[in-house]
Symmetry: C2
Subunit: 557 residues, 2 copies
């Protein structure tokens, strides 16, 4: 397929592609003589940027998905659907109702909600009419939804794609188009009551996916902001100092301190003071004891308020028996502007970057050349948090002339969960079929006047469909036995229904259990009239424990 290109061009094309194309998608260069297309090939993103166009009789373009996106298919898709089902069942179990908002919002709805990350928002082209942007998360659209429908309380869940023009790390599940699975509670309720249920949902959701080696890092914005204040940070600098602290899960303290002092103009002694406190972590009650033991901190009004809320939370975390997962960690900051209270992130071992991350990153950048952006960061980043969220009491108010509806929520990162589950279940996945076919309908015959019974196979299969049974047959008028068995095996069907040249006209059908070698037995001859009933009985016998294969696989059973 590549033969018509000079190897030099090819090498450079392939280099561009190699890190952005997912494992299961073969990217290729396409030349279309059909020329229905009128836009000529842009041979590199840089050239595309300049908008250069040149007419050619023959069209060429890269056959791939955009950077940071991928196709999902086959077994991956079956696993991901099972993860979605597990999470939406979880959300329904907790009283959630689901909503769906548009993929793009009026641009002004998103503006000013994401702090330093606003630069990662995808804009739609101005083609006349409104200015719009792809949603960056599901939280801001939810707040807009609550405000525009004047809702006073709701437990809503939303499983949908969001978009960020970020550095992708495809094999770590960090992508430009990715799913979020969000559960949020909006409404005026007693302190920490919905918050603690959200923490319980996070634990229940992860355990339900067979993930038990996680920790939920907790912090409270009022305590964190109070620490900054107590250490001497000016009010207007709090958010930018906070976003530096947010990098502590990826960078060592020295790097973060440098950012604070040099980029963010904080006196060195202020940074050092902060450095002492953000090291504290432990159980909720342990860290509360440390804070209350610090005269500097406990004198701060904001910290006092945060501490009293965390004390209430500690009680509820006990009632839900999830203390073993919780870790109060004063270094947790969360980048987004809109959080106002409790914040949290679930992490596993896979969340952290490799120990020699900075070395690997330097190497990748050296290979790429100083000017070019590294296409994929999978080698030197971790999976990151697998679920994260917090309380945001003022966001709805930004859309409703200040009439606030307090909210708290959690967002599960499905791609990241998926990469953990896939690694864990690699072996079990071999036995998984992407199809849901239960029965394969075939005809056996031959000799004079044999027409392959295509119409008869159609009629019989239709009876199965109408009874709600998943069934296929070969799309050939005449098909030999071997081909039909091969297709049946590929389809994952458990049973074959066989129309014999003599048997079928005599009102008989043969049912054979598949997967036991095609010659092992003759199957069972039944009256055609009893087909549906016989099939249903035999399929029931295949079910074990009331749980199908994929459910057990995703739960890690």
């Amino acid at each position: 397929m590549f033969s018509r290109y000079s190897s030099g061009i090819l090498r450079s094309l392939i280099r561009t592609m190699s890190t952005t194309v997912p494992e299961n998608a073969a990217a290729s260069v396409v030349a279309t003589a059909a020329a229905a297309t009128t836009v000529p090939k842009e041979s590199s993103p840089a050239q595309a940027k300049q908008g250069k166009k040149s007419k050619k009789a023959e069209q060429q373009f890269l056959l791939k998905t955009p950077k940071g996106t991928k196709d999902w298919s086959d077994k991956d898709m079956v696993v991901r659907e099972a993860v979605f089902k597990s999470l939406s069942d979880l959300f329904k179990r907790h009283g959630g109702v689901t909503i769906d908002t548009p993929v793009f919002e009026l641009r002004e709805i998103l503006t000013g909600k994401y702090g330093e990350d606003s630069k990662l928002i995808y804009n739609l082209e101005d083609q006349g009419g409104e200015l719009t942007s792809l949603r960056y998360d599901l939280t801001v659209p939810f707040a807009r939804f609550v405000a525009s429908n004047s809702i006073s309380n709701i437990k809503r869940f939303h499983i949908a794609k969001v978009y960020r023009r970020d550095q992708p790390a495809m094999t770590k599940g960090r992508m430009r188009e990715f799913y979020q699975c969000d559960f949020d509670v909006a409404g005026n309720y007693d302190t920490m009551v919905p918050d603690s249920e959200i923490l319980n949902i996070t634990c229940e959701g992860l355990v339900g996916l067979g993930i038990t080696d996680f920790k939920i890092k907790l912090n409270h914005r009022k305590i964190l902001d109070g620490i900054f204040e107590a250490c001497g940070v000016k009010e207007e600098d709090v958010r930018k100092v906070s976003s530096a602290v947010d990098k502590l899960d990826k960078s060592p303290w020295e790097v973060v301190k440098k950012e604070m002092v040099i980029e963010k103009n904080q006196p060195e002694e202020v940074a050092d003071r902060i450095g002492e406190f953000v090291k504290w972590n432990g159980t909720i009650r342990e860290v509360l004891a440390l804070i209350k033991g610090s005269e500097l901190l406990i004198a701060n009004a904001s910290i006092q308020q945060g501490v009293s809320e965390m004390e209430i939370l500690a009680d509820y975390v006990d009632a839900f028996d999830i203390n073993k997962y919780a870790r109060f960690d004063l270094s947790l900051a969360r980048g987004l502007d809109y959080y106002t209270g409790l914040i949290y992130e679930a992490v596993t071992e896979a969340s952290a970057p490799p120990a020699n991350a900075s070395e690997l990153k330097e190497k990748a950048q050296k290979e790429k050349g100083k000017s070019a952006e590294v296409e994929d960061a999978s080698e030197y980043v971790g999976v990151g948090s697998i679920a994260a969220g917090g309380r945001y009491d003022n966001l709805v108010g930004m859309f409703s002339n200040g009439k606030s509806i307090p909210c708290v929520g959690i967002s599960f990162g499905v791609e990241r969960l998926f990469s953990i589950i896939k690694a864990r279940a690699a072996k079990d996945l071999e036995n998984l079929s992407a199809n849901h076919t239960e029965v394969y309908v075939m005809a056996f015959g031959g000799g004079e006047g044999w027409n392959g019974f295509l119409k008869e196979r159609m009629t019989v299969t239709k009876k199965l469909w109408d009874a709600g049974i998943n069934a296929e047959y070969l799309y050939k008028a005449k098909a030999n036995i071997r081909k039909q068995f091969d297709s049946a095996e590929k389809s994952g069907a458990k049973l074959a229904v066989i129309l014999g040249k003599e048997e079928y006209p005599a009102g008989k059908l043969r049912i054979k259990v598949l997967g036991q070698g095609q010659d092992s037995d003759e199957g069972e001859l039944i009256d055609s009239e009893t087909l549906v009933e016989s099939i249903k009985t035999k399929l029931d016998a295949h079910n074990v424990d009331g749980l199908d294969y994929i459910t057990r696989l995703v739960r890690g059973l």
Copy 2:
């Protein structure tokens, strides 16, 4: 909320909004003093187009979704999810596997695939990097997927959103962001075998949604193009004449003829000849007989080929017993460029525009003023086709250096199906709860030392969740009985579990059936140990026929 604006500005804002905002979303003007936003309000689409910006201390913007889009929530969402489930079960029943492709594609992938409709494609802004566009349908991304993964055969389904910058008609389910539910078969198979199964899937899918008063209009591109050829249309004019004929479901012949003669430069006698043939419709065999009776037509090689394929199809349609739904209609053209064989559209009575459509359209335009675009066309258009598709044998080849994989598929228009189901089931929807809550956990007590049993309610509810039971409780430390019963009723729960001030510490819980008036009975006192078991038994008793309420509602039972 509106008080700070002059009533003149307000009136014009409200007028702009009134037709684009869906029934369930209250649009409002928002003034945010918080001023975290930096982009000022654009007071009208026209102004936005000019890109004018002016700094204001106070931000104002319209609180709505972009034109032609809407939020989905509450019962609508429950019905739509049930429609999705019905269709994905259908697709799995026929051996389908599902895939997921990105919402945006490299722009050159979409270019030149949609004929006159290409102007409706949404582009993403060039923010550096690749040029991309939102997908216009799921078919072209599917062909790109097949080519880039070198797939030789697949039955795939895909339920996802697509985007068209078209004139919306919101209450008719014609939107700029809408779902398609597609099933396509790719691979080399015997003539009309997958095609006929796709027709059967269309019928099975609609009947499964309780829609039985539909017809599937059929035509064959080889016959249609042959008619144009036989009537004297030049080869290079065939597609544009075809796209004029495609408008016959919305406009009378005189209007279409005018387009052919004046806009598309066809001689009047050519148009008149075409006009005779595109009137023909009936059963497959009836129209085949008419074509074979015409010396002009049957002499054409392309028509001969189409006729022989339609004869095979007629047999398979008989085998599936779906002849009563099929209507061979020579006026069906389908706008898209990529079809090469059989084409079809399912229509119901709601598909057609109102009898006085052109009158209503003129009125709407007059009201709006000549220059302005009518915001919503719901008044004067029909729902349109509720499912449509066809064979496209060359599309994959456009992505794979000409290596063709023949394809045939169907796309269900969910929003349109939804609007039909919602109109039919309006009364039943009153009894539908958007929640899935089964049990509400409450505490009864009072007097000295009564603390509301919040932690105890948490512990008991947690036991239910862990057993997979959907359960809620009131997010208040202390809550009176009335409030708890009110919330239980809102949640749609069938059972209440009551923690009594004396009973609970004694190891007892009370279970009460809800929805029978709160004072009707005392409920049943059980041992706390047997809670999960008792609840499961009582919930089972609520199930009828093995089908839940929403399934029956969507099936029209």
